[in-house]
């Protein structure tokens, strides 16, 4: 293997034109891609990763303009590279390279595929754009590609639409399409971010396998240091349009030089183990909440007569006990029913069967005043801090709302209480007249927390409270919750898809799969010695943020008979 770069990004500058003039979003970005190697571009949202990727294909999103630097493409290693940035963005030359020499896959496989064309149609089109072949031949190639990305029954799959595929299958189809002309470079823009961890692990495996087969350079964009550790050879760290550090993956993980790299790594590393400042519940702590055989089936009703046409067993016989001062995690992938369990306990949904016993009160049957009473003690934190705060109310009104409707405070006392709550969650009380739009995601989640603890609750249901936040903010919010747990003696039901967050925060964990708890126990024990095959599959899929451990563990797959 000759070691000349196949693609060179050289002091690239991209600006967005606006009324005030051109605002640069990329400042002199430089890096190289090599054949057979994976280069990860890592950074948090807004760092300019995606703009870089699109600029390589000369697809700068409007109103962006390239105002400096070059991108050189030299697939044959002749030393006479094509200057991609000089090509007409609509011209024939760049179009021959797009899809032909450089393939690209995107974050959202659903919206990145046309909803009204079959998968086969879209792949055949890609093939015929760059290869001189008949429709039948192209279809043959497309079928082979689907087989290569391990889509079952590829012949049938060709004639299906994107919405008939599952998320993972869609991304496989995207990959098949991007690779159908055997490109020299594959650009993958957060290809696994929208997927569950087990699916993510499968897609990463697949990309590695294909890279070996096709010997291409991969540019992999991600914000997840765990994924970087899993697949990168080279790492480019970007922050606010600057490349702040680049190097080999081991150097980046073992000896990061830049402050920002250390910060990204620190945020991930800290989630590798339980929080040090975690206060354990007392051994003799009694139960606060007992849930037994909880069941909720969603019925899909259709037509004028509202007949039941389909039933989804979202929660199918779930039992657990929450002890005083304990943090119980519920982990599972999308569709596992974990959020529904949380919402049943908060009585957002009315479960159809089972027992929910909160300190002797029957939560299932509570109505009217008694339901209000129990809702004061069992509170909820939502996932999306943008959706859960009414944008039309000030922070003061938002936090005061539970106090007002429960008649707990008014006038100056109310104001003092809101100020105190804001201080408790680490916000300046002087900001209480502001509206939510004036706050960042992390700050908003603090407001949500303040609202939840306003009523001195005993139990807090936290539904993915950190997953809408960037990594570096996550630990801050988790630490806040830990501090409040210690100060106020709260019990948590902590719902998450992220094993690392669960490990950091929870004493015990319940693993959910298709509406059932498949395994429950001490967090550390489950992580070190999982019993259920699904738990094993889940744990073995979680990327480890340590490149030296790459390939040291066996991946488990779990496909129950119904799959």
């Amino acid at each position: 293997m000759t070691d000349h770069p196949i693609l060179t990004v050289d002091r690239l500058n991209v600006g967005f034109a606006s009324r005030q003039g051109v605002m640069d979003v990329l400042h002199g970005v430089s890096f190289e891609l090599h054949r057979g190697r994976t280069t990860c571009i890592v950074g948090e949202s807004g760092s300019g990763k995606s703009v870089t990727a699109r600029t390589i294909l000369n697809m700068v999103p409007r109103p962006g303009i390239i105002n400096g630097g070059r991108i050189l493409f030299d697939p044959e290693g002749t030393g006479r590279p094509t200057v991609l940035t000089d090509l007409d963005p609509r011209g024939r030359e760049i179009r021959a390279i797009r899809g032909g020499r450089i393939g690209m896959i995107f974050q959202e496989p659903m919206s990145s595929l046309s909803p009204v064309h079959t998968i086969g149609n879209q792949i055949v089109e890609a093939v015929r754009l760059h290869r001189d072949c008949s429709k039948a031949e192209a279809r043959e190639i497309a079928r082979d590609m689907l087989e290569q990305v391990e889509i079952p029954q590829p012949e049938k799959a060709l004639d299906k639409y994107a919405f008939e595929y599952s998320g993972g299958m869609r991304q496989r189809a995207m990959i098949a399409m991007a690779l159908s002309c055997h490109p020299d470079v594959l650009i993958a823009d957060e290809p696994t971010t929208a997927l569950d961890v087990t699916t993510q692990a499968e897609i990463l495996d697949l990309m590695r396998k294909l890279q070996d087969e096709l010997h291409m350079a991969i540019m992999f964009i991600t914000h997840d240091m765990g994924v970087v550790a899993e697949i990168a050879d080279q790492v480019v760290v970007m922050e606010k349009g600057h490349v702040v550090e680049q190097g080999g993956v081991e150097q980046i993980f073992t000896a990061p030089r830049h402050r920002y790299t250390r910060k990204l790594l620190g945020a991930v590393k800290r989630l590798e183990e339980p929080a040090t400042e975690k206060r354990r519940p007392a051994k003799a702590a009694g139960p606060v909440l007992k849930v037994q055989d909880l069941a909720l089936h969603f019925e899909k009703r259709e037509g004028f007569l509202q007949r039941v046409t389909d039933t989804v067993r979202a929660v199918d016989g779930v039992s657990f006990t929450l002890h005083e001062g304990e943090a119980l995690g519920i982990v599972g992938e999308s569709g596992s029913g974990k959020t529904t369990v949380g919402r049943c306990i908060a009585r957002v949904y009315d479960p159809q069967g089972g027992v929910m016993d909160y300190r002797g009160q029957d939560l299932m049957a509570a109505e009217g005043a008694r339901l209000r009473e129990s809702r004061r003690e069992v509170r909820m934190i939502f996932q999306d801090p943008f959706a859960s705060l009414n944008p039309r109310m000030t922070v003061k009104q938002l936090i005061a709302e539970p106090l007002i409707v429960n008649g707990l405070a008014s006038g100056q006392a109310l104001e003092d209480r809101v100020a105190k709550l804001l201080t408790d969650v680490g916000l300046d009380p002087g900001m209480m007249e502001r509206y939510p739009h004036a706050f960042s995601g992390g700050q908003r989640q603090r407001i949500v927390v303040a609202r939840a603890i306003a009523l001195d609750p005993k139990v807090v249901i936290a539904d993915e409270p950190t997953s809408a936040l960037d990594v570096s903010i996550r630990t801050q919010v988790l630490d806040l919750l830990l501090k409040l747990q210690a100060d106020l003696g709260l019990s948590f039901i902590f719902i998450s898809h992220d094993m690392a967050v669960i490990r950091y925060f929870c004493d015990r964990v319940a693993v959910m799969f298709r509406g059932r708890i498949v395994e429950i126990g001490e967090t550390e024990q489950i992580i070190t010695d999982p019993q259920h095959p699904y738990t094993r599959a889940l744990l073995s899929s979680v990327p480890i943020a340590d490149p030296t451990l790459r390939g040291t563990r066996t991946r488990h797959r779990y496909h129950p008979e119904t799959a």
Binding site: L57, R90, V116, Y161, F163
Partner: protein, 328 residues
Amino acid sequence: MIWRFILKRILWMVPFLFAVSVVAFLLIQAPPGDYLTTYIAKLGESNEVLDQASVENLRARFGLDQPLYVQYFKWVGNLVQGDFGMSFEWRQPVSDLVWGRMALTLMLSFATLLFTWAVAFPIGVYSAVRKYSVGDYIATTIGFIGLATPNFLLALILMYVGVVHFGSDVGGLFSNEYANAPWSWGKFVDLMQHLWLPVVVLGTSATASLIRIMRANLLDELNKPYVDTARAKGLSEFWLIMKYPVRVALNPFISTIGWVLPNLVSGAVVTAIVLSLPTAGPLMLQALLSQDMYLAGAFVLLLSSLTVIGMLISDILLVLLDPRVRYE
């Protein structure tokens, strides 16, 4: 799958058509008095007086003395057999009067629909792809004015222009020599020469709104990730826009037939009156004013059925075009 959907949709027409017939019947019954009252008043003007017995006699003959629901079921029962009853005023079967005019109405609406699409589609696509260009501004401005001008006003203005600047009367659908002639090639050509004016008049506001809809839909679609996917494949800009976003934006465009047709049929009534076209509008207005119940009822019913069928067609087209609808 598709056939089941279409069958279900066709079955849905039954209650809709029933409701339409009830509405039509009630509307006809709504005015105080009935045709005889009007008739007697008319006779009174010419100093003829009908004695009570002959009035009762006439009432019984037209079935006007029976309770409402009986009259309704009689009416519907006959309708099903193609008998729309007698026109009081014209003294001939309603079906003789309406079909010719309905056919012209249908033809006019269909021609307008084609015109509307032919104009709105390219302009809408252009406006979206070249957003904020001079052409987009011109299209948007004309679109807005088209929307704001009532049909009859546009008809009047065009007629005014015709008379003052070209010295010709542009109303009607046929020249005098063809008005009552049997169908022939000459008559057809003559019709085409007259048709453009009502088509333009009728089509303007629908075209304007379709342009806006196409533009808005396409603007939404142009930013979707799948457009980037297609671009990253190396597809040329023109084809990628035509094959993907335009194709997707076409769906709402198709579903608009459902409401464009009612609008066209409505507009056709007013326009026809202004331009004195031999379509349903003027005769219906006359029938309503003289309370010629069966005639007016037939028109209201047929025009409403026309739009209900239009909705059906647009729904079926949508299912054929959009795989997502099929699998829902």
